[in-house]
């Protein structure tokens, strides 16, 4: 049992950190002499970065893409939150992506990006990221850098231990951080231990298309399933989930979920799960959830509702899942590049616990179990532990690897990264973070083949690092050179929202696959027009469809009359440009909507309900040419009972 001393230690450490943070930093230990550091991050104008970095936007709901080592922001990809800049969630085409069993939700909390892998190495095809609040996983296509699919996770609350892919992208996972009644029902909250359950969900990824489907869920005790990583190499076929709140408390978790000296790492044998599924051992459970898929050729997302899931019950499926006792409410769980070691980052501790996959398998074969919880055997800690890293830091959260036998762990409370050696467990180096580091990322650092050149620390507190911007500050990332024996701080750069986890990959893998345009002749949007002479306006009842084209620098048509108050107007704009970097935007005065921003060859739809008679300008919002200012038009809106005829034109008076 954990005693109050450890809690007091934690509080004292936090206080110590705050006073530390507020102390002016005279010398920044580990910072290279400025010009030397500058030369390492300088990417000359016109030159390109060596790595892409994908940072979660946290409570922004998005993914931001940076170049490394420069720290230049390349793009913000909207995922779970609407984004007026790109019309995402505002145009008719992308609204279905944000549909859930609760209806349209304009936001989520995005935590852990994870690149698709082939043979345990990032392959640059897709990026997956979890939404924590209303449990979901999104898939981004890295040839277009767009969100193309979002699947909802039923029977879960707080999709945090997700997506953490398997080494050939067979599955991504989704463990519930906030256990909930299974299935959902109206019960007293203090009936937690009786009614609340966890779900560990496996979502299969189609090898060619990347499309996600919910393969199965494992019903587990109502702990908080915090983080995960899937095995690799020898441990391929397993996934490891950390737990806290094995106390199963439902209130004041700050204290009550920190009572047990050890919680667990859940080790799931998903190949065994596949066997049980094939044997028909799964129960079919009614569960309503949505799956939303964007069709790149139709430039259109559709949402479907699915009604059932396959559920495996551990007590009926021996060998499916084991618990490994792990000290101090472990947060991150990280598997080294060989797949031999499973690092439990005990966040209320000074030390790291490293488990051995081989010892775990031996303990399972010997059936050396300490006890059993709801049919899940609990292994003996001593049977499985490979070593302890006595770090001297406080509050370990996450570990990544450099592929050279070294591991790098973040310590939130002592605000530092500690480098240590696998198998000897000795600390080799440590370097401060400014301030309060959470996740860290080495490109490929959770894969079989890390690019062990740079490390990015993703910090929770910014304080005095940048020019002040009022009470709210952007959060901070810091870039370290890890190519030598000593880590060296090179660069600070601000981030969008809160960067939880991040992923990095050599730019050369992604660059050749990046699309420049959508081909017009492949456009299958149901309301696309491909020639300007097809531009027209059609009325059916109070639904008016304006079929419009754009090219530098005019819309066709650009004069429209005969629209009436109360009409439901859909402006279907096809951008007939076929050159790179020639988007056109479109906005209409008074439309209670954002602009749309249409890429070359793409069709998007702006929805507008005109409210008052008058003449309303519309215009191109993205500076497109020397005649961009002239790229504008007018729509005349008449009273609902008027008989103004429907007319449209370009370059002449409406006829």
């Amino acid at each position: 049992m954990k005693n109050m001393i450890s809690n007091n230690t934690f509080v004292l450490a936090v206080i110590a950190l705050i006073s530390f943070s507020c102390t002016p930093q005279g010398n920044n230990p580990g910072v290279l002499e400025a010009s030397n550091a500058a030369s390492k991050v300088y990417v000359a104008p016109g030159e390109m970065d060596e790595f892409y970095a994908f940072l979660s936007g946290g409570f922004s709901g998005q993914v931001s893409v940076y170049g490394l080592p420069s720290g230049r922001l390349l793009k913000v990809i909207p995922v779970f939150s609407v984004d007026a800049e790109k019309g995402y969630g505002f145009n008719e085409e992308t609204k279905p992506l944000l549909n859930t069993s609760f209806g349209f939700i304009p936001w989520d909390d995005a935590h852990h990006p994870e690149l698709s892998q082939t043979d345990g190495v990032p392959d640059g095809r897709w990026l997956f990221i979890n939404g924590n609040n209303t449990p979901r996983i999104a898939r981004l296509d890295l040839s277009t850098f767009e969100t193309v699919e979002i699947i909802e996770i039923p029977n879960s609350g707080g999709n945090h231990s997700s997506p953490f892919i398997t080494e050939n992208s067979e599955y991504i996972v989704a463990g519930t951080r906030f256990s909930v009644p299974f299935p959902q029902k109206d019960v007293a909250i203090d009936s937690y231990k009786e009614n609340f359950k966890g779900a560990l969900t496996y979502i299969s990824v189609a090898p060619e298309s990347g499309e996600m489907s919910l393969a199965f869920q494992i019903l587990v005790p109502g702990f908080d399933y915090d983080l995960a990583h899937s095995g690799k190499g020898k441990s391929h076929g397993w996934t490891f989930f950390t737990t806290y709140n094995s106390e199963q408390s439902n209130t004041l978790k700050e204290v009550n979920a920190s009572q047990n000296d050890k919680d667990f790492i859940a080790a799931v044998n998903w190949k065994k799960a596949e066997e049980y599924l094939a044997q028909g051992k799964a129960k079919t459970v009614a569960s309503s959830y949505t799956r939303n898929l964007y069709n790149e050729r139709a430039h259109l997302a559709t949402s479907e509702t699915l009604e059932e899931v396959q559920v495996l019950i551990p007590s009926e499926c021996p060998g499916l899942i084991y618990y490994i006792p792990t000290p101090k409410s472990p947060h991150g769980v990280d598997v080294d590049p060989t797949g031999s070691y499973i690092v439990g980052n005990g966040k209320l501790s000074a030390d790291l616990t490293v488990h051995s996959f081989d010892k775990m398998i031996a303990a399972i074969e010997n059936e050396s179990f300490e006890t059993e919880i709801d049919g899940i055997p609990v292994l003996n800690f001593e049977d499985v532990v490979a070593g302890t890293v006595e770090s001297g830091g406080l509050g370990p959260l996450h570990t990544e690897f450099d592929g050279e036998g070294n591991a790098y762990t973040t310590f939130f409370i002592s605000s530092e990264v500690v480098k240590w050696k696998l198998e000897t467990w000795e600390v080799l180096d440590r370097i401060p973070c400014y301030y309060s580091v959470g996740h860290l990322m080495i490109p490929g650092g959770d894969s079989k083949k890390p690019w062990g050149k740079y490390l990015v620390a993703l910090n929770k507190i910014t304080k005095d690092r940048y020019l002040p911007t009022g009470p709210e500050l952007n959060q901070s990332a810091q870039l370290y050179d890890i190519s030598g024996n000593k880590m060296e701080l090179l660069l600070d750069f601000p981030t969008i929202g809160e960067p939880h986890y991040a992923q990095g990959i050599a730019a050369d893998i992604i660059k050749p696959r990046s699309k420049k345009i959508y081909k017009l002749d492949e456009n299958e949007h149901p309301h696309a027009i491909k020639k300007e002479d097809q531009a027209r306006v059609e009325r059916e009842g109070d639904v008016v469809r304006i079929y419009m084209t754009s090219i530098r620098s005019h819309f066709a048509p650009d004069n429209i009359e005969g629209i009436k108050v109360g009409d439901k107007v859909y402006i279907h704009l096809t951008n007939v440009e076929q050159d790179w970097d020639t988007p056109h935007g479109l906005s209409v005065m008074g439309a209670r909507n954002s602009e749309i921003l249409v890429m070359p060859g793409q069709t998007e739809t702006l929805y507008w309900e005109p409210q008052r008679p008058g003449v309303y300008p519309f215009y191109c919002t993205d500076f497109c040419s020397a005649l961009h200012q002239e790229m504008q038009g007018y729509i005349r809106v008449s009273d609902s009972d008027s008989d103004t005829p429907l007319k449209w034109s370009l370059g002449e008076s409406p006829a």
Binding site: I517, L520, D521, K531, I551, D581, S625, L627, G651
Partner: protein, 142 residues
Amino acid sequence: MLMYCSQSSPESADKETSVTPAQEKSPVSTDPLENKGIGPITSLKLGPIDQALVEEGQVLYQELCTACHKPNEKFIGPAPAGIMSRRSPEWVMNMILNPDEMLRKDPIAKQLLVEYNMAPMANQGLTEDQARNILEYFRTLE
């Protein structure tokens, strides 16, 4: 001290600089029919009009060009009718295939840009075969 030698990327796509008048002198002839323009097409011999190519070219023209070019009247850009008596076939194809560089360097293209109110010729991403088909269609426009 840092020394960087870098070549500017040929693909650098700056929407506004694509209309920047270039300073360099062009070596091309002052006779428009002798000017082959700048781009992938250096020499082209025309035979009898191939009606199959004309039909393919007309479809492409209608899909990708008519937003700015009406066949017989000035619109956003010039009308292609009669273009074969004004320009070399190489120039026409290079203007279709390589408009960004043509607008920066070719004296006729530069002059047309000014004449047409700084509306740049858009690169519609055509293949050489597609541009050749459009050229064949242009040969039928008097």
